[in-house]
């Protein structure tokens, strides 16, 4: 805050120097026209030269001060946001909302530099100009218009404009998503053109509204320019001296960017309130215990159609056993650091041997000191999955949570890695909760839970569930259609085909 005040002071001084330069230069010319002795002008000449240098120098210092203030402020803000997020109870908001939060913080930086600072400077300079000229009515009116009324109207208009655009933007977003996700269907049914045309009409509607809004917002900018010169003209007509008239022009010049700043403020106010919301401490909501009791040493499988709530159940188990339950969940994050940092996250004191041991267990073959890329982009799907598995094993938790741990590997290889992992855990007598779409690994599990539409619909052992009609039996029969019924896990896999006779 202290730095920000310094920045506003510097900025005000720089602008005053600029206005002073203009005022003194005009006074100098007007006075010279009366042809006084040279000595009458020397002070003005020196002032003009001094202010000319001062203006540029002050502006440089001001820019450094304001950027310094904002950057330091951001350091503290990021820290506080992080603290606040850590204190919030899991499960957190979605990944998208977090990404947006980070760009909200950047928007805040913009809001201070491009909205708040210019507005504060223009107000201060305006007040000083009024005091210096003895509060002439035209200047009072001009400043009220240019500093308050026009920017406020611009803000209100922009906010209203954004409100009317919001449903159109939401519609466009929906259509973009369906166009993309349904692209194969649209192409297959020959309906792509039709769908593109309909989306184009939403786009045109959006553009038409933007064009209509520009007529009014442009009028506000024009009004600001008219106010600037109108004020000067009124002063001129009232007989104010030339240097006051041009001083008013220079003072009001500062208010021209305020219209755009106000519109910008309307655009980023959503960011501001989201940041504020995160920083406001919230009472911890009462947590409902997961509908699943975890008995030590047991192996529990969770199956169900996609979107039925398997991953959510796993997360609620994690939340109910903080410190004891660790593993590789659906939203497991690979940090943009080295493979070593990513795996050692589970145990910062792990030795090289321990790292190599878990890597061998899951067939992870990476350079420990290679950076894995943003979200693990440099890794293949299978490698990323094995890195997460290695991390989960290194943590050696009492309850190991695994969400589709071998996705991205071939069936054969996945089965092999998974059976090694389960064998390792069994020797350490730890609990395992495994979410899987493939049922073969569950055959010797202690309990299997079937989730459909967010509810547990069946539970039991593999033997029980395969003899009861329901999701599990259906899935098991298709997984095993045409193969030897005894299908062991892991099984050898060879490409096979059948031909009509």
């Amino acid at each position: 805050m202290k730095r920000l005040i310094a920045a506003v002071t510097m900025s005000t001084a720089a602008e005053l120097a600029g206005i002073g330069l203009m005022v003194t230069a005009v006074w100098l010319i007007m006075r010279a026209a009366d042809q006084p002795p040279l000595s009458a002008l020397t002070v003005a000449i020196v002032t003009v030269r001094t202010l000319a240098i001062a203006r540029g120098t002050l502006r440089y210092v001001e820019r450094l001060t304001s950027h310094d203030a904002v950057l330091r402020g951001m350091v503290e803000l990021r820290g506080r946001i992080y603290d606040s997020l850590v204190k919030r109870p899991p499960p957190l908001r979605s990944g998208d909302a977090l990404t947006r939060l980070v760009s909200d913080v950047d928007a805040l930086q913009d809001a201070i530099l491009r909205c708040l600072l210019p507005a504060a400077t223009a107000t201060l300079v305006g007040v000083i100009a009024l005091a210096a000229t003895g509060f002439p009515l035209p200047l009072i009116t001009g400043l009220i218009l240019a500093v308050l009324l026009i920017p406020l109207s611009a803000y209100a208009l922009a906010a209203e404009h954004l409100r009317t655009l919001a449903p159109l933007r939401a519609d466009l977003a929906d259509r973009t998503v369906t166009l993309r996700e349904g692209a194969a269907e649209l192409t297959a049914f020959g309906a792509m053109e039709h769908q593109l045309t309909r989306t184009a009409s939403v786009i045109d509607d959006l553009a038409a509204r933007e064009k209509r809004a520009s007529i009014v917002t442009a009028a506000l900018t024009a009004l600001a320019v008219a106010t600037q010169f109108g004020t000067a003209l009124t002063l001129l007509i009232q007989g104010s001296p030339a240097h006051i008239v041009l001083g008013a022009v220079a003072t009001l010049e500062l208010t021209i960017p305020l219209t755009a700043a106000a519109q910008r403020w309307a655009e980023i106010r959503g960011s501001l309130s989201r940041v504020e919301e995160v920083l406001t401490p919230r009472p911890e909501p009462a947590r409902t215990p997961p509908p699943l009791h975890i008995e030590p040493g047991k192996r529990i499988g969770i199956v169900g159609p996609s979107g039925a709530g398997k991953s959510t159940l796993l997360r609620s188990i994690a939340a109910a056993h903080p410190g004891a339950a660790k593993g590789a969940l659906a939203d497991a994050h690979v940090f943009h650091r080295t493979a070593r940092v990513n795996v050692q996250l589970a145990d910062p004191d792990a030795t090289e041997e321990q790292l190599d041991h878990v890597a061998r267990l899951v067939d992870l073959d990476v350079d420990w000191d290679a950076v894995v890329g943003e979200q693990g982009d440099e890794l293949s799907g299978g490698q990323r999955q094995r890195l997460l598995l290695a991390r989960a094993l290194l943590a050696n938790p009492d309850i190991l949570l695994l969400d589709e741990p071998v996705e991205g590997l071939t069936i054969h290889h996945g089965d092999e890695v998974l059976s090694r992992v389960l064998g390792h855990v069994r020797t350490h007598a730890k609990t395992v909760v495994l979410v899987t779409h493939r049922l073969a690994p569950l055959q010797d599990f202690d309990e299997i839970v079937v989730i459909e539409d967010g509810r547990i619909t069946q539970r039991g052992t593999h033997a029980e569930l395969t003899t009861t009609p329901g999701y599990y039996q259906d899935r098991w029969s298709t997984e095993h259609l045409g193969t030897d019924a005894a299908g062991r896990f892991p099984r050898p896999h060879t490409p096979q085909m059948s031909h009509p006779t």
């Binding site: 269907e185 943009h336 059948s498």
Partner: protein, 499 residues
């Protein structure tokens, strides 16, 4: 200005010329009013005209930005092939960034050429000494900007990448928060977050000290030139070497020569992102299809042969399907079974032309599928995807997706959705599935059914619908169905297992 319409550049030039004329007129008249008192009415008219021009200029530039945005949105929807989330962000919000460039920076750039030239021309008639001062100092601004820019470019680039790294680090940590929490490492990261941001702030300030030098030069040149012009003119006025009106004109015009350059410089950074977005959007193009387009053989008489087909998606380590061989006779109904991940859906995707075999061929009669006219080929297919997409609109519109003249009512009746044809509110997953079946059977002209049975357990009505569609609609038609439940297997002529 590579990405800008020629007509827009002409418009901007006209606007800038009008601005230059009004700037000159206003200074001329103000000098006249202040020195002799004559020309007040004309001055008021000029100022009114200037406000009007500001309005017109804003409207024209913002309309142009809106039009360009609309064109780019359509272009991106048609041609982009990136991830859905990225595309949606770019189409809905990202493109707004081009407005500061098109409607802010570009117009100002044209003005910053036109106005200084006009000012110089006018001053060389009024007072060539002042004109010379401005003519000599004005080029210093771009020259110094270039010098400082060259000196700081590497530092700035490093800076930007450091900035991205810190912003990225914060994003990375925040996104990974649930993972950090799971492993009990969340608190430990708090110090790192602050330390990284602080180190970055120090580094940024060091770079800005140099980078802002170009702005310092700009400001100093502009203000010093005013002093350099004002003081000599004042002194000459003192000795009667110049009239008051000319002296005032010189003083009023001198700052106008520098003002547009300062404004353009101020808008440059805000517009840089817009330019990047613009370039990204313009370079998005979709690969052209193969040139050979044979007529599609009639599926009522043609068999389909998969000949050593391998399907390997880019950015996947292992192929989705290897060495697959199968022949489907006309009118034959074949079920594909096997564990998930065995490549069943990939086979359907290959028939639909969504992916091409990375090796091997798919033959329709004796012609490679890749050589067929895709639109014509697809007209013979009716596809029920595993997870159907419902498009904005009513159920009836969704059923008529692939056959605008179809008997929607009959198709809806067949799947038991006749009560819902006119609704557009969200449907249950079973209803969605039945819409997809109705959509397929509404395509009366299709010769082949591609059905990807959902893995989730279906309600009885939906299950029954899927079975009936396979049974009745495929009579006399070819069918390739991906089965996840045994019930479907009794409806087909042959079962093929993928492993």
């Amino acid at each position: 200005m590579r990405h800008v319409d020629r007509r827009y550049v002409v418009t901007l030039t006209l606007l800038a010329t009008a601005t230059a004329i009004l700037v000159l007129a206003q200074a001329e008249l103000l000098a006249s009013v202040l020195s002799t008192g004559a020309g007040l009415v004309l001055l008021i008219a000029t100022i009114a005209a200037r406000a009007l021009l500001v309005w017109a200029g804003r409207v024209v530039t913002q309309r142009e930005a809106a039009s360009v945005k609309a064109d780019l949105r359509k272009h991106l929807l048609r041609n982009s092939s990136g991830p859905t989330g990225e595309l949606t962000t770019l189409v809905v919000k990202g493109l707004d960034a081009i407005e500061p460039y098109l409607a802010g920076y570009l117009p100002q750039l044209v003005v910053s050429v036109a106005v200084p030239l006009a000012v110089l021309a006018r001053l060389s008639f009024a007072d060539w000494g002042s004109a010379l001062t401005i003519a000599l100092t004005l080029p210093l601004i771009p020259v110094f900007a270039a010098l400082v820019g060259m000196h700081t470019r590497d530092r700035t680039r490093r800076q930007w990448s450091a900035m991205a790294a810190v912003g990225g680090h914060f994003l990375d940590v925040v996104q990974g928060l649930s993972t950090l929490r799971l492993f009990g490492r969340a608190e430990a990261q708090a110090r790192t977050v602050r330390a990284m941001a602080a180190a970055h702030a120090d580094e940024t300030i060091r770079t800005l000290r140099v980078a802002f030098l170009s702005a310092l030069v700009l400001e100093l040149v502009a203000t010093l030139s005013v002093a350099l012009v004002a003081v000599p003119v004042g002194l000459r006025l003192l000795h009667g070497g110049v009239t008051l009106q000319v002296a005032l004109l010189v003083l009023l015009l001198a700052p106008e020569a520098y003002l547009p350059l300062r404004a353009a410089g101020a808008q440059f950074h805000a517009s840089a992102e817009g330019l990047a977005v613009l370039e990204q959007a313009m370079k998005t193009t979709r690969p052209k299809p193969l040139a050979i387009q044979r007529r599609s053989p009639d599926l009522r008489r043609s068999s389909i042969t998969f000949d050593h087909v391998e399907i390997h998606y880019p950015n996947r380590a292992e192929p989705a399907l290897t060495d697959f061989n199968l022949q489907v006779a006309p009118g034959e109904r074949v079920a594909l079974i096997g564990p998930s991940g065995a490549g069943k859906s990939s086979l359907l995707a290959a028939l639909l032309g969504e992916v091409h075999p990375s090796s091997g061929r798919i033959l329709i009669a004796d012609t490679d599928l890749r050589e067929l006219d895709r639109t014509e080929w697809l007209r013979q297919l009716a596809w029920v995807p595993q997870r159907p997409t419902l498009f904005p609109g009513t159920v009836a519109e969704n059923i008529a997706l692939g056959a605008p003249e179809a008997n929607v009512q009959a198709a809806a009746q067949a799947v038991g959705l006749n009560d819902l044809v006119d609704t557009d509110h969200p449907l249950s997953s079973g209803e969605r599935q039945r819409v997809a079946v109705a959509r397929a059977i509404a395509r009366d002209s299709a010769r082949m059914l591609l059905l990807d049975e959902p893995t989730s357990r279906l309600d009885n009505r939906t299950e029954e619908t899927v079975l009936r569609a396979t049974r009745e609609w495929t009579r006399g038609r070819t069918a390739l169905v991906v089965a996840h439940r045994p019930a479907l297997l009794t409806e087909v002529d042959r079962v093929v297992e993928l492993r």
